[in-house]
Amino acid sequence: MAEAVVGTGAPSPGVDRAAARQRKSFLRVFIERNKVGMIGYVIFGAILIMSFIGPLFLPDENPTDVGLVYAPPSWDHPLGTDWRGQDVLYQIINGGAGLLIVSMIAAGVATAVAVIFGALAGLIGGRLDSVALILADVVLTVPFIILLGVLAVFVRLDNIFLLALVLAAVGWPTLLRAVRAQVLSLKEREYVEAARMLDLPMRHVLFREVLPNMMPYIIINFVLGMTNAIYGQIILYYLGLVPLQGDNWGLMIQQIQSKQAYSLNDAFVYVMAPIVMISLLQLSLVLISRTLEDVFNPRLREV
């Protein structure tokens, strides 16, 4: 009967609050507590629809028109044209899917590595734990942008899986540390203790007890992994380290920089379009991860 209330004297208002909360539906609470966060879901949803359904409605070709270079917005070209006279809106609609697919693969691989090794390191502890932690620390210390740049110079990034793998290779350590911290706290819980006492195999403890309870957290990590992968991809495009073909927001940024289009007043909308899209995408993912953290585990941010 030790008192659970530690702190400034509130006689466990949390208990009553929790009880009151349970009466409402999960979804309602979720929305109520995340009015700002909902914007993230709306933006992300809109970008997904535009990038994956939008291209179905586009004509096959985006003709170049040398007579219409850096044209300001018009009925024919709502976002103007670029340095070759190609329609910008077309490129914006067409240029998101590749970015999203690669970042999802990269985030998936990085999260999988982080979850499996992070969970094992946390559960087994000892030498495996120290090795995993040191390795993560080492990779974290190396400036990841430079690591990415150097890796990309030496490895020819001519298919999206290779691109995703390189991005995952620099993205896993942050996630691994976070997963490990989470597992360490889960490890203390009764059901994990019980499973270990019963001498159930590690496979069981990992896949039946620990991972299901980490699902929300894994999703958060996946979302954060995506923001890292998007950032990394844009950098690779920007540095000209990805073969330049097709429509891609990163490629658009690269061309704006190399053609110095940002210094032209007429090209304002063309220049802003990919910057705004990338920023919106990143912002929406950050907002989503924050709402998930708030709902699933408000205290985890400190870990």
Partner: protein, 364 residues
Amino acid sequence: MAVVSTDATTATTRQPGTVTVWARSRQILTGFLARRILRAILTIFFVTTFIFFLVRLLPGNPIEVYINQQITQYGYSYEDARAQAQSLFAIDVDQPVLLQYFDYLQNLAQGNLGMSVSSPGTTVGEVIESRLPWTLFSVGTALVISFIVGALLGMFMAYERGRFADSVLSSFASLSGSIPNFLGALLLLIFFGVKLEWIPFVDMRGSLSPGQQVEFSFAFVQDALYHATLPILVYVVFSIGSWMLLMKSSTISTLEEDYVAAGRARGVPEWRIAIFYVGRNAILPLFTQLTIAIGFVAGGSLLIEPIFAYEGIGSELWRSIQQRDYPMLQGIFLVVTVSVVVANLIADLFYSRLDPRIRTGGGE
């Protein structure tokens, strides 16, 4: 603390002054800083090894690419091209890989990083020596400013939580954290340089104005600051958000700590509570994030410097990537990593001074 004995005995058996010099130094050796120094050495070792094998063992490795280039483009004989590659990369290609590796380590220890491919006749070391100070100056200044100002703002947000100022600053912090910094640099140029023409960004290009000598004078410091303003501004604006949010959440949880309520109950003045109770404790978790931040901002220089034509290591790395100057790339990668490792050690040193639990070996 795992002391589970009656206190009366622990209090009397541990006499004051029994902590000998030997015990003290052992404590330090096994302590926090020792582990960090060990990690730093390990990191540098891993990175050097990694880059060596990356250059040597990958199919189509840069040395071979270079040799072939020399033969096809300039009509060198294979032997000549090979000899040239050897001096450029500071590696003896004829030896077994393991020996090459030891040679390479020995060269590194002597500061020999090889020769630049794109600017013949200059060593990688020379180039880095002339570029690194600019980057250290601008990135270092930016990091210190964004850490301190971000922590102060984060604390302010925590005290004002739920009010207007907090929501404005939180929105800014979210934006600052989600816009990639080089896009931020472009935005700065577009809005304040091109549209509004508030910033004379053509005039501010480079690291120094033409004709300005590197010397100990007020004019030099002023000019250097003038040219570093834009890179520093961009680093600060686009890295401060994460410090603000971290400090805000850390401060909010510190404000709930019992010792804060206890301090107030004892009548400790509110300004002392804010500085020595809340601020001092809330800032500690931020140091664990410095590891990532230092590398991040240092990496960011690669992307931002070329935009402002700031003649630091970032612009040089950019050039090396464009021209596939492998020895230069390798050298810059190593030097930047070592700088980040050293910067991390300095941050750890501060951290261990700030948190007595770490100083006296209470664990991380």
